[in-house]
C-alpha cells in the first residue's frame, strides 16, 4: 500500500492530494530530493531575483560572457548548469548588455571571454569592454573571480581579451580565486576541467549551501539543445559563380534522413570537414612519413594540419631539438616567421625526420567550420542550404586552400554525405514580423538574408526588407540574382541595392551604396527597422562606420552623437552583426 506523506491539511484539493500521494509515496529518496530541487527551481526561475528557497538562500554567482561565435555563451550555460548543482544561484550576463556598475555588487564572478581575430573583443561587447578598461570602471574589491579565455593559436594575439580582463579585474581589486586558462579551438576538454576547478574555488562553505538538487531549466538559461553532429546528403552542389568569375561559390543543398535540425533564420551549421589528401601527403613527405597509412588517414579526418602557432614552433624545437628552430625561438623570431606559413612550411624549411607521434603532436584537432544557413525551413522543408566560397590564396610561394571551404567545393559531390551540426545564433534573429529589416550582406554574407527573405515571404510578414548586396563583378558574381529578381517582383524584397567592386576602376562597395541611400536608410531605422550586417569582418567595421556617418549627415549630428545613435541601436539589438 502506498504511504500517504502529503497531509490532508496541505493547500491542495482532495483529489490533487491523492494524486500527489500516489507519486510521492513510493518515490525513492533521490526522486524526492530531485522533486524538492525542481519545485524550488520553479520559483527561482519565475522570479530570479528572489532567493530560491527562503529557508536556505542560494549564493549568487554572476557568469559574464563575451561571445562572437556563441562558444563562450554555450560554456557560460555549462557553468550555470554545474553551479546550480552545487547550490549556487547563477545569473548569466552577456557582456554586450552589462551595466558595468552592477559588477561591483557581484560576490562571485566567472568571466568567459572570447578573443576575436587580431586580439579584438567580440564586436557586440566592444563598448562594454572599452568601458571596463577605461577610467570609469568601478572598484571590484572583494569580488572573487576567475577568467576562462577562448582564442585561436593561429592568431598572434592569442586569448588577448581574456588575459586583459583577468589583469584588469585584479587591478580593480578583484580577488582571483582560480587561475585563468587559455583555450585553443579544441576548448571542450580544458574548458570543462577549468569550470569544475573554478566552481570548486568559488563554492561557498558547506553551511551556506542548500540541500536541494539543482535542476536544469534548459532553454531558459542555455541556448538551444546541443545535439551532436548529424549526417546529411548533398542533394544539390552548384557553383553559383560564373565560369568567368575569379571565385568559386558553392550553393549546397542538404537533405536529412529525418527532420532537419531545428534551425531558425540566422543560425549556422557547423560543417565537419576533412583535409585535402594532397596536402596531407605533402606534409607526410616533408616529415618522412609517407608510408604511414594509419597516420595519413588520421590526419585527413581528425587533425588540423595547417595552423602554425608560436606554440607549434616551440613544440617542434623541443621535441626535435632542431638547432635552427631552437635559435629561432631563442631569438624571439617565431611570431614574424609564422606569418602566412603553415606546419608544412616549418618542416620543409627546417627538415628533420619525425615520428608519427611527433608530427601528430604538432597538429590540433580539426575543428568544424560554421556557415550561415541560407534557407528557411518554412520554404525548403526538411532541408538546409549553405553558401560557401572556396578560400584560395598564395603565401610564401605556395598555394593555400581553406580546409572546410575547399572540402565543400572540391571534394563534396551531389549524392555525397557530410556531417553537420546546428549552431544557433540567437543574436542574429529576425525582428518582429511587422518590423522592417535592412540587410547588408556582400559575398557569402548574403546567405542568412536569403533565409530571412524566404522566412518572411513564407510567413507573410508585413515588415519591409531592404538588401544591400555586393561582390566583384555584376555579370559573374551576382549570387542568387534570379531569386532576388523574383523576390522583388513578389514583394518579399522591397529594395535591393548592389555594389560591384571590379566593374569600374574605382572600387564600389556596399557602404558606398549605403551612403548614397543614407536618407532612406536613416528614415527606415527611425521607423523601427533592424539593421543586419553579415560577412567579412573588415566590411562589418566599414559598414558600421558608414552608418555613423549616415546619421551624422542626415541628422546633422556631431560624430560623437551619431556614434551614440548607432551604439543605442546595438544596445536595443537593432544593429546586429554576424561577421567572420
Amino acid at each position: 500500500m502506498p504511504l500517504s506523506p502529503i497531509p490532508s491539511t496541505a493547500p491542495f484539493a482532495e483529489e490533487d492530494i491523492e494524486i500527489l500521494n500516489r507519486v510521492v509515496g513510493p518515490a525513492t529518496p533521490l526522486q524526492r530530493a530531485w522533486l524538492a530541487g525542481f519545485l524550488a527551481g520553479i520559483d527561482a526561475s519565475a522570479a530570479p531575483l528572489q532567493p530560491a528557497a527562503p529557508a536556505q538562500p542560494a549564493e549568487p554567482l554572476t557568469i559574464l560572457y563575451a561571445t562572437e561565435s556563441g562558444n563562450s555563451e554555450k560554456l557560460a550555460g555549462d557553468v550555470a548548469k554545474a553551479a546550480r548543482k552545487l547550490g549556487l544561484k547563477p545569473t548569466l550576463v552577456d557582456m554586450a548588455d552589462l551595466e558595468l556598475a552592477a559588477l561591483a555588487g557581484s560576490k562571485r564572478l566567472v568571466v568567459i571571454a572570447a578573443t576575436w581575430g587580431e586580439g579584438e573583443p567580440p564586436a557586440r561587447a566592444a563598448h562594454v569592454y572599452a568601458a571596463l578598461m577605461g577610467d570609469g570602471a568601478p572598484r571590484l574589491d572583494g569580488v572573487e573571480y576567475g577568467v576562462l579565455a577562448l582564442g585561436d593559436t593561429a592568431y598572434a594575439e592569442f586569448c588577448a581579451i581574456g588575459k586583459a580582463i583577468d589583469a584588469r579585474l585584479a587591478a580593480l581589486g578583484g580577488k582571483r580565486v582560480v587561475d585563468r586558462v587559455d583555450c585553443d579551438l579544441d576548448f571542450a576538454g580544458p574548458a570543462a576541467r577549468w569550470i569544475s576547478s573554478a566552481l570548486k574555488a568559488l563554492e561557498p562553505p558547506a553551511a551556506e549551501r542548500g540541500t536541494v538538487i539543482s535542476v536544469d531549466f534548459g532553454s531558459k538559461s542555455v541556448p538551444a539543445a546541443d545535439h551532436g553532429p548529424v549526417e546529411a546528403e548533398i542533394v544539390e552542389h552548384i557553383n553559383l559563380s560564373s565560369s568567368r568569375s575569379d571565385k568559386e561559390t558553392i550553393h549546397l543543398e542538404l537533405a536529412f534522413d529525418g527532420p532537419a535540425p531545428a534551425y531558425k533564420p540566422g543560425d549556422s551549421l557547423d560543417v565537419y570537414p576533412q583535409n585535402d589528401p594532397a596536402a596531407v601527403d605533402a606534409l607526410l613527405k616533408a616529415a618522412g612519413l609517407s608510408s604511414d597509412g594509419a597516420l595519413r588517414d588520421d590526419l585527413i579526418k581528425t587533425r588540423d594540419i595547417a595552423t602554425l602557432s608560436t606554440k607549434t614552433v616551440e613544440t617542434y624545437a623541443a621535441t626535435t631539438g632542431h638547432q635552427y628552430v631552437k635559435e629561432l625561438v631563442a631569438a624571439g623570431g617565431v611570431r614574424d616567421w609564422i606569418a602566412g606559413r603553415q606546419i608544412v612550411d616549418l618542416i620543409e624549411h627546417y627538415p628533420i625526420a619525425l615520428t608519427a607521434e611527433q608530427l601528430r603532436g604538432l597538429t590540433r584537432p580539426l575543428a568544424p567550420r560554421a556557415y550561415s544557413i541560407a534557407s528557411s525551413r518554412r520554404e525548403v522543408g526538411e532541408a538546409a542550404h549553405l553558401l560557401v566560397t572556396a578560400v584560395r590564396y598564395q603565401t610564401h610561394g605556395r598555394a593555400r586552400k581553406g580546409v572546410a571551404s575547399n572540402f565543400v567545393a572540391e571534394r563534396l559531390k551531389k549524392g555525397g554525405r557530410i556531417r553537420v551540426k546546428l549552431k544557433p545564433n540567437r543574436h542574429f534573429a529576425l525582428p518582429a514580423a511587422d518590423r522592417d529589416a535592412i540587410m547588408v550582406g556582400p559575398g557569402t554574407g548574403v546567405a542568412p538574408f536569403r533565409a530571412f527573405v524566404q522566412e518572411r515571404r513564407a510567413a507573410g510578414a508585413p515588415g519591409r526588407n531592404w538588401l544591400f548586396f555586393g561582390d566583384r563583378r555584376f555579370t559573374h558574381d551576382f549570387l542568387y540574382q534570379l531569386e532576388w529578381q523574383d523576390a522583388l517582383k513578389d514583394g518579399a524584397l522591397s529594395r535591393l541595392d548592389v555594389a560591384f567592386s571590379r566593374d569600374t576602376p574605382e572600387k564600389i562597395y556596399v557602404q558606398h551604396r549605403m551612403w548614397e541611400q543614407r536618407r532612406d536608410l536613416v528614415d527606415w531605422i527611425e521607423r523601427g527597422a533592424s539593421f543586419y550586417v553579415c560577412g567579412d569582418k573588415g566590411m562589418g567595421k566599414d559598414v558600421r562606420a558608414t552608418l555613423v556617418r549616415c546619421f551624422a549627415d542626415v541628422k546633422a549630428q556631431a560624430p560623437e552623437l551619431a556614434e551614440q545613435s548607432v551604439a543605442a541601436l546595438e544596445r536595443d539589438r537593432r544593429y546586429l552583426q554576424d561577421v567572420y
Binding site: F478, L482, D497, T504
Partner: protein
C-alpha cells in the same frame, strides 16, 4: 503599296518612343538586371548600342541562378573613320576600363566596344562625349556612320571626300535630344512638332537601316555597291574632284531559305556637283522614308524599294525632291576593294602607315602599342572599311619611333595574299544573330587554306575571302571572291564568283560545309586557277570562266542558276 498590311512591331515602338526615349532612363536605374525591356532594346540601337549576351555562357547561367550574361555593344560614330590621337586614347581607355579589354574595328570604319555592362554605359558615353565622340545613330533605322575612302596619299581628293562624308553625316544625324538627356544627363527638352524635332526623319525615322559611303577611285575599299547610298568621286588628271556619281540601292542582307530576300549591288543614278550632293543625299533618304516598306522588315531596305518601284521612277522622285536633275554618270574605274599595307608618302610631306588588324580585333599587346603611338602622334588615325588601321599624317621626325613601337608590339608581320584580303564579322559569342562562328574561326580556316594556296603557288596572290556568322552580311561576304556564310554551328555556305573590284555579286557554290569540307572544296579550285588562269585574271573572274558558278547580274539574279555541289 503596303497599305493593307499593318506596320511592323518596330514601327509601333518608334512611334511610341517620343523620339527614341522610350523608358531607357528608367531602365538604366534598375540595377538588378543587366538588360533593358524589349522595346527599349530596339530603341537603344538608335543610340548606337545593342543589348547582347555572352552566348558562350548561356547554358550555365540558369543553373547558376543568374540571368543571361547581358552586356552592351557600343558602336561609335566616326565619320569617314578619322579620329584624333586624343579620341583614340579615350576609346582605348574606355575599352580597357568598361569594355572587354579589346577594341573592334568594324567593316564600316568605326569602333565597337563589347561587353559594356548597363551600369557602365553612361560613364562610357560621357568619356566619349568629352572628346566629342558619340554613338548616336551608329545602329538603328537611320543613316548610320558615313564611310569615306581613307586613302591619305591622295590628300586633296580625300580631303573633299571626307568633307562630304562629314557633311552628310551631320545633315542626317537624328536631332532628338534623347541621347543627351539619357546618357549625358542633359536637361529634358520639351517635345515640339515632329518636323521641328526631326525635320528629315519624323517620329518613325526610316523603315530600316541606311548606309552611306563616299568612294575615291581607283579604290573601292568602302564597297560602294554594297551601300544604300554612295558618292563616287570623279577626279580629273590633276587630282581635283569634279563632282560625284550617285549610287543607290545596294545592300547585303538576306535570309537563308527565303529567295525573296537577296543581296544587291547599287545602281548608279547619275552625276552631281559637290554643291548639290547634300540635296541629293537628303532626297534619297526621304524617298526611302516615304516609299520604304514599313510592314515587313525583311523587305524594308532601299534595295527592295528600288526593285519594287523601278529605278526610273525612283530617280525621278529623287530629282523632283532635290529640285534638279542628275547629269549622266561619268566613267569611273575601280581596281580593288582591299587596303594598301605599309608606308605611303602623302602629298603634304607626311607619311601614312596602314596596319593589318586581323578581323579588326585589337587586343593586347597591340592595344598598348597603339596607345603609345597615340601618345606621341600629332597626325590622326583612320579606320578602313576592311577593318584595318592607318596611322596617318605621321610627322617625318616621328616615323622612326612609330616604326619601333609597331615592331615592339607585333603590329606588323608577313601575311599571305589570302589573309591580307580577309574579313569576318563579330558573330559568336556576342552577336545575337550569329548561326556560326566567324571572327574566332576565320584565322584558323585561313591557316588551313594557306597550305593549300601555297601548294599551288598562290601564296602571294590577292584573293578576297570574307566570312559572316549569318546571312545578314556585315562583312559583305557576297562581294568576296570566296564568301563563307554561317548556316549552323560549324557549317557554312560557300559563295564564289564576285568581282575583285566589288562590282559583281557572288553565287552559291556549295552548302553546309564544315571545316574539312571547305578546305576540300577549295583546294581543287585553287589548283585549277593556278593552272588555267590568264594573265592578271582574278580568282573571282576565273570562277565564272571556269564554270564553277554562273555570273550574278544583280539582286534578283542572285538565287538564279545555282548549281549546288
Amino acid at each position: 503599296m503596303n497599305e493593307a498590311r499593318p506596320p511592323s512591331a518596330n514601327e509601333r515602338i518608334k512611334e511610341a518612343s517620343e523620339f527614341l526615349r522610350g523608358t531607357l532612363a528608367e531602365g538604366l536605374r534598375d540595377t538588378v538586371t543587366g538588360a533593358v525591356v524589349e522595346d527599349d532594346a530596339q530603341l537603344v540601337k538608335f543610340h548606337g548600342m545593342y543589348l547582347q549576351d555572352d552566348r558562350d555562357l548561356r547554358t550555365e547561367r540558369t543553373k547558376k541562378k543568374m540571368e543571361k550574361a547581358f552586356a552592351f555593344m557600343i558602336r561609335v560614330r566616326i565619320s569617314g573613320g578619322v579620329c584624333t590621337p586624343r579620341q583614340w586614347l579615350a576609346l582605348d581607355r574606355v575599352a580597357r576600363h568598361y569594355g572587354n579589354g579589346t577594341m573592334r574595328l568594324t567593316t564600316r570604319q568605326t569602333v565597337q566596344l563589347h561587353g559594356v555592362i548597363k551600369s557602365n554605359l553612361k560613364t562610357t558615353l560621357k568619356a566619349m562625349d568629352d572628346v566629342v565622340m558619340s554613338s548616336i545613330a551608329a545602329c538603328g533605322d537611320v543613316n548610320r556612320n558615313v564611310m569615306c575612302n581613307p586613302n591619305p596619299f591622295q590628300s586633296r581628293a580625300h580631303a573633299m571626300a571626307l568633307e562630304l562624308a562629314r557633311a552628310i553625316s551631320d545633315h542626317l544625324t537624328p536631332r532628338t535630344p534623347a541621347y543627351r538627356e539619357i546618357w549625358l544627363d542633359g536637361e529634358r527638352i520639351a517635345g515640339g512638332e515632329d518636323d521641328v524635332v526631326e525635320p528629315i526623319y519624323g517620329r518613325t525615322y526610316l523603315p530600316r537601316k541606311f548606309k552611306t559611303v563616299v568612294a575615291v577611285p581607283p579604290s573601292n575599299d568602302v564597297d560602294v555597291y554594297a551601300q544604300d547610298l554612295g558618292f563616287i568621286a570623279v577626279v580629273d588628271e590633276r587630282g581635283d574632284v569634279l563632282g560625284w556619281n550617285v549610287t543607290a540601292g545596294g545592300g547585303m542582307g538576306m535570309t537563308h531559305g527565303e529567295p525573296e530576300t537577296y543581296p544587291r549591288t547599287a545602281d548608279t543614278l547619275g552625276f552631281c556637283r559637290t554643291a548639290d550632293a547634300l540635296a541629293f543625299a537628303e532626297a534619297v533618304v526621304t524617298v526611302q522614308r516615304d516609299w520604304g516598306d514599313r510592314s515587313n522588315r525583311k523587305h524594308a531596305r532601299l534595295k527592295y524599294t528600288i526593285e519594287d518601284r523601278g529605278l526610273a521612277a525612283f530617280r525621278a522622285e529623287v530629282e523632283r525632291r532635290a529640285g534638279k536633275p542628275l547629269q549622266p554618270a561619268r566613267p569611273v574605274r575601280f581596281t580593288s576593294t582591299g587596303d594598301r599595307y605599309g608606308w605611303t608618302e602623302g602629298e603634304n610631306g607626311r607619311a601614312h602607315l596602314t596596319l593589318f588588324v586581323e578581323n579588326g580585333r585589337l587586343r593586347e599587346p597591340a592595344l598598348t602599342g597603339l596607345r603609345r603611338i597615340a601618345e606621341l602622334h600629332d597626325g590622326d588615325f583612320r579606320l578602313t572599311a576592311n577593318q584595318n588601321l592607318v596611322v596617318a599624317n605621321v610627322a617625318p621626325g616621328k616615323r622612326v619611333e612609330v616604326e619601333r613601337l609597331v615592331a615592339e608590339h607585333g603590329l606588323n608581320g608577313t601575311l599571305s595574299g589570302l589573309r591580307r584580303n580577309s574579313m569576318a564579322c563579330v558573330a559568336l559569342p556576342t552577336c545575337g544573330l550569329a548561326l556560326a562562328e566567324a571572327e574566332r574561326y576565320l584565322p584558323d580556316l585561313i591557316t588551313a587554306l594557306e597550305a593549300s594556296v601555297a601548294a599551288h603557288g598562290l601564296a602571294e596572290d590577292d584573293i578576297v575571302i570574307r566570312m559572316t556568322g549569318c546571312p545578314n552580311g556585315c562583312a559583305r561576304p557576297y562581294l568576296a571572291e570566296i564568301g563563307l556564310v554561317g548556316k549552323g554551328p560549324g557549317r557554312y555556305n560557300l559563295y564564289l564568283g564576285a568581282a575583285f573590284d566589288g562590282s559583281r555579286l557572288s553565287k552559291l557554290y556549295a552548302e553546309d560545309l564544315d571545316h574539312d569540307g571547305i578546305v576540300a572544296a577549295l583546294d581543287p579550285l585553287f589548283a585549277a586557277y593556278a593552272a588555267g588562269r590568264q594573265a592578271g585574271e582574278r580568282f573571282g573572274d576565273f570562277s565564272i570562266r571556269a564554270g564553277f558558278v554562273a555570273a550574278t547580274g544583280n539582286g534578283r539574279d542572285f538565287h538564279a542558276n545555282v548549281k549546288v555541289r
